[in-house]
């Protein structure tokens, strides 16, 4: 229960902090921290316009996307507290519920009949396909390391001791952050501020949505961000007590947002043809983490 409240709470601030960081890095003052929330509230008050070439898929996709994101939030633990739902293998549930949402947004993008949206949809599908083995191998290695298979159990029993486990932990944190950036369509894989359809990946999929639907999609985006931030934070606060975990959680979310803002300010997006190999490199690094876990566990000498 606590996790959901915290995630919803931080999602209010997350995108705002990113925007603010980017503005300050460019020398501007920037909008207020709640500006994205205000934008979404304004969108909720508007009506949606549906194109005549779309079908029912286009109308239900935003709702499904939003609900899958909320469902995925349910399994995230917080510190030593379970999520609302926790069972063995729930990280697979997590990954595939998000995939369901992504699937619906992809087919709704293709439903519009616009070639730009189809192009963005295919790219999005490609990147998710390559990021999936990275995520599974990573969480799988942790499951192997701790001997448990649910998010809560994994994170609460994660103990980092020797130098090699610290290295693996560092690598894993890097891979997790990168996966989070990819899933949220951020730099260096996707530029959210580009206005050229040829270079958009996620933005182009939601070009035709408007009004309430757009508000839902944007809210789902905020929650997704905060959710991945929560997973990354869980990585560090897995076994701490509540009083220590809470401020640490907020601190990590804040640092994550600032980090995303800094990366977006100072890096250009990778060349489009380099994106797949970058994401695949993450899978290879995850495989190395798996190798390291095997080494630590002495499954082979």
């Amino acid at each position: 229960m606590l996790t959901i409240i915290l995630i919803l709470f931080t999602s209010l601030f997350f995108t705002g902090i990113i925007l603010r960081t980017k503005s300050i890095a460019s020398g501007r003052k920037g909008p207020g921290i709640f500006q994205p929330v205000k934008d979404v509230i304004r969108l909720f008050r508007k009506g949606a316009i549906y194109s005549e070439t779309t079908s029912i898929i286009f109308r239900i996709a935003p709702v499904i996307y939003f609900s899958t994101v909320v469902m995925a939030c349910l399994v995230i633990p917080f510190g030593s507290e379970k999520g609302v739902v926790s069972f063995d293998g729930d990280f697979i549930f997590f990954a595939y519920v998000l995939a369901l949402g992504k699937f619906f947004s992809i087919i709704s993008a293709m439903d519009t009949g616009s070639s730009f949206e189809g192009m963005g949809a295919s790219r999005e599908a490609l990147y998710s396909m390559f990021a999936e083995p990275a995520f599974f191998i990573l969480i799988g290695s942790f499951a192997l390391f701790t001997g448990n298979t649910s998010f809560h159990a994994i994170f609460s029993s994660l103990h980092l001791g020797s130098s090699i486990t610290y290295t693996l932990g560092g690598l894993a944190a890097f891979v997790l952050i990168m996966i989070a950036m990819i899933e949220n369509s951020r730099m260096p894989v996707d530029d959210p501020k580009t206005h050229l359809e040829l270079t958009m990946i996620h933005e182009v999929m939601i070009l035709d949505n408007s009004g309430f639907d757009l508000g839902l999609i944007l809210t789902a985006g905020f929650i997704k961000f905060a959710m991945y931030g929560a997973i990354i934070a869980d990585f560090f606060i897995g076994s701490l007590a509540l009083s220590l975990a809470l401020p640490l959680f907020l601190l990590i979310q804040f640092t994550y947002a600032v980090l995303v803002g800094i990366v977006e300010s100072f890096m250009a997006r990778f060349r489009m043809s380099h994106n797949p190999q970058f994401i695949l490199a993450l899978s290879s690094v995850s495989f190395l983490i798996f190798l390291g876990v095997l080494l630590v566990l002495e499954k082979f000498v």
Binding site: S163, I164, T167, L171, H274, P276, Q277, F278, L280, A281, S283, S284, V285, F287, L288, L291, G292, L295, F300, V301
Partner: protein, 210 residues
């Protein structure tokens, strides 16, 4: 700690696979030299000091400093263009190199030997085959030379695995390094740069069975 350095070594292999520019290769070779220096320092503590100092100097001075500097000099002097010009796209190279690491891990798993630290075996064989793969799939001659230097790094890792009992083998390996590198790099690449305009393997196909 040795394991950490060796895992970073494999990551450097993956990084080289997706690198676009030749300068990336040179920098990764320098990084590998520094990593080897660390591994040598941690691993070889049973051999006498004078020998150890020599080996340490060789790794850090030769592999990490001298050879990369000489390579950048060659690149500038022969006006070699920045691209690495592979025959296969980087994406497929990445998959192949990952498969190489996987196969090496599986191979190492089937060995039942307690005298050898498996991680050395894995790292050295992966580097060896990645170096061979580089030589086979790159067009430029200078990338061939860098593939060869990578093979030598892999051989050095393997010689560290047996280095404590037989330090002479490590010395032999260093001699191989210095000798072959000076021979290949120093003499012939200069000559090739002078004689051939484009330092490209396509130019080296005139010796045929015609």
């Amino acid at each position: 700690m040795t394991n950490v350095l060796l895992i970073i070594f494999i990551i450097s292999l993956l990084y080289v696979t997706i690198g676009n520019r030749i300068i990336t290769y040179v920098r990764v070779l320098a990084l590998q030299g520094v990593l080897l220096f660390g591994v040598t320092f941690l691993q070889l503590h049973e051999i006498q000091t004078w020998n150890l100092v020599l080996i340490l100097l060789e790794t850090v001075v030769f592999k990490a400093v001298a050879v990369p500097m000489f390579l950048s000099y060659l690149i500038r002097r022969n006006k070699i263009t920045r691209e690495t010009e592979p025959y296969l796209p980087h994406f497929i190279s990445l998959i192949i190199v990952t498969i190489i690491v996987v196969i090496t891990v599986l191979l190492a798993n089937s060995i039942k030997d307690t005298y050898l630290d498996k991680i050395f075996f894995i790292v050295s064989l992966s580097t060896l085959f990645t170096g061979l793969y580089f030589i086979a799939t790159r067009k430029k001659i200078i990338t061939h030379v860098m593939g060869y230097l990578m093979i030598e790094n892999g051989v050095f890792v393997l010689s560290l695995a047996v280095g404590n009992e037989m330090p002479n083998l490590v010395n032999l390996g260093i001699m191989l390094d210095v000798f072959a590198s000076v021979l290949i790099l120093g003499i012939f690449l200069n000559k090739i740069g002078d004689v051939f305009k484009d330092v490209d393997v396509d130019q080296l196909t005139n010796l045929k069975d015609y």
